[in-house]
Amino acid sequence: MEIGRLREGVRARSKLLLKGPGGDDVLPGEAAEAVFRAASSLRPSVILLGATRNGRETASRLAAKLGWRCASEVSKVTAKAGELAAERSVYAGKVVASVACALPAVATVKTGSYQRSDAEGGTVEEADVGAVDGAVRLLSRKKKEAGGPDLKKARVIVSAGRGVKRKEDLPLLEGLARDMGGALGCSRPLSSDLGWLPEECHIGLTGVTVKPEVYVAVGISGQLQHIAGMKDSKIVVAINTDRSAPIFQASDYGIVGDLYQVVPALRKALAARKGPAPAA
């Protein structure tokens, strides 16, 4: 387990390798206990973790063990004058809250809110925290198939929602995504409830956060939890039969219509654009 020790300027100067818990198989409870032991002697004023599921769990348990405060899913973190201050998004992304708490504190940092530092170097120290024996036993760990496209890198995303009636209709949207040089994403119900697309295709609060040049929401109502994952897109397009669907409020261009008519028409219009220019 590796821990970047953060100093002024938030750059990992030295890394601390905690020895004791087993390699890749560390569960959050064991990680929390190991870091707790290290923190008890190192006495840092802030411990930051990534706000992944395991990160959130580890941070909460660590804070409970240390008796420190814990801030979740924060960005724009500062720590000065004995206080940690940060921003976080609440009420499904509808509200931005500024939060503060006294140091020392634990916080989980919202994934994607900082540029990844690839600064090499620094020193690596090792600390033996002793064996950590959690009550939870890992029986197996399966990596999910990375079947889906990398939506974070896609320039264009066409996103399918519940307005799509059958799984068999998805190729229509996939085709549109291809025509536009992009990838197919979806709202949560399509992956989590219906299982039509892999979990990593779902965009939103509990899924991936994306910022493509163009985001085309097809048959998506635009609930807050979905908007939270695509609101920073450059241009948002919505196709929906319901004129009053909230997605139109979060879009630059909206077409009120049946996706089964609009998407084929759009594909034709895109093909015509690429085709030979009509003779004058």
Partner: protein
């Protein structure tokens, strides 16, 4: 099997409105049972029907939170426990402390089920903190849960992997919404829920001292969106070609 299920009376984010200062109006805002808590209640009921026993719904919140308890009772929980508190929801360690004390008093339980995070503030801290406060094992983000005698087995759903784990009872488990489809109570169940027992514990009774809030919210502002909101009119064909032109003008095609 004796199961406690923790539920939160959460601000309904969809109904939240901005005040004249641009901040959300939280005083008197509409509340509902936190969305994924229904999955937690459903899982508790499912386990009860497989093993028999009792399901107790526990909440920490203001008096109005009784409505959320009642919803859990209508779904099928046997009784409810409320710890009256006006502590802000950002004070997760306090909430976990109150819930732990209430669970101890109303227990013992084999299993405490929570949802992975609440639909209002979604910080996901209370369930692991509750396990720490109770001094029992914790399994987070379960999408499958099974109890076999004194051993619980679960599948943890993570971003990039799925883990199968096992832990001894008693324990705290948090569930993700993929675990089940929550039932809707019938009208009769809703009526019967009023007859079920709800016990109120005061903070004094539980002996949980009040402390200054751990994390404070210093400012709130509604997210603003400055989208163009242009409706592209016409038949599907007309709208499609107008949209393509608009995207060309934007320089994104």
């Amino acid at each position: 099997m004796r199961i406690a299920v923790c539920v939160k009376h959460a601000v309904d984010e969809a109904e939240l409105k901005a005040g004249s200062d641009g901040a959300p109006v939280l005083a008197g805002a509409a509340c509902k049972m936190s969305t994924f808590d229904k999955n937690a209640v459903e899982e508790a009921l499912r386990l009860k029907s497989a093993h028999s026993g009792e399901v107790v719904a526990v909440t920490a919140g203001p008096a109005d939170a009784r409505r959320t308890l009642k919803e859990a009772l209508a779904m099928g929980a046997d009784r409810g426990v409320i710890v009256g508190t006006d502590a802000p929801s950002a004070d997760t360690s306090r909430t976990a402390g109150l819930l732990a004390a209430a669970v101890r008093k109303a227990g013992p339980f084999d299993l405490v089920i929570c949802s992975e995070g609440s639909s209002d503030t979604y910080s996901g801290q209370v369930p692991p903190m509750l396990a720490e406060a109770l001094g029992v094992p914790y399994v987070g983000y379960a999408r499958k849960l099974q109890v076999d005698g004194s051993v619980a087995r679960a599948e943890r759903l993570l971003e990039d992997s799925v883990e199968e784990v096992e832990a001894p009872v008693p324990l705290v488990v948090s569930v993700v919404s993929e675990i089940n489809e929550p039932r809707y109570p019938t009208l009769i169940q809703i009526m019967q829920a009023s007859k079920k027992q709800v016990e109120e514990y005061s903070q004094d009774q539980l002996g949980v001292p009040t402390r200054p809030a751990s994390v404070r919210v210093t400012h709130m502002a509604m997210q603003t969106s400055n989208r163009k909101r242009v409706t592209v009119e016409g038949s599907p064909e007309e709208a499609a070609s107008r949209l393509v032109q608009a995207l060309e003008r934007e320089g994104v095609l």
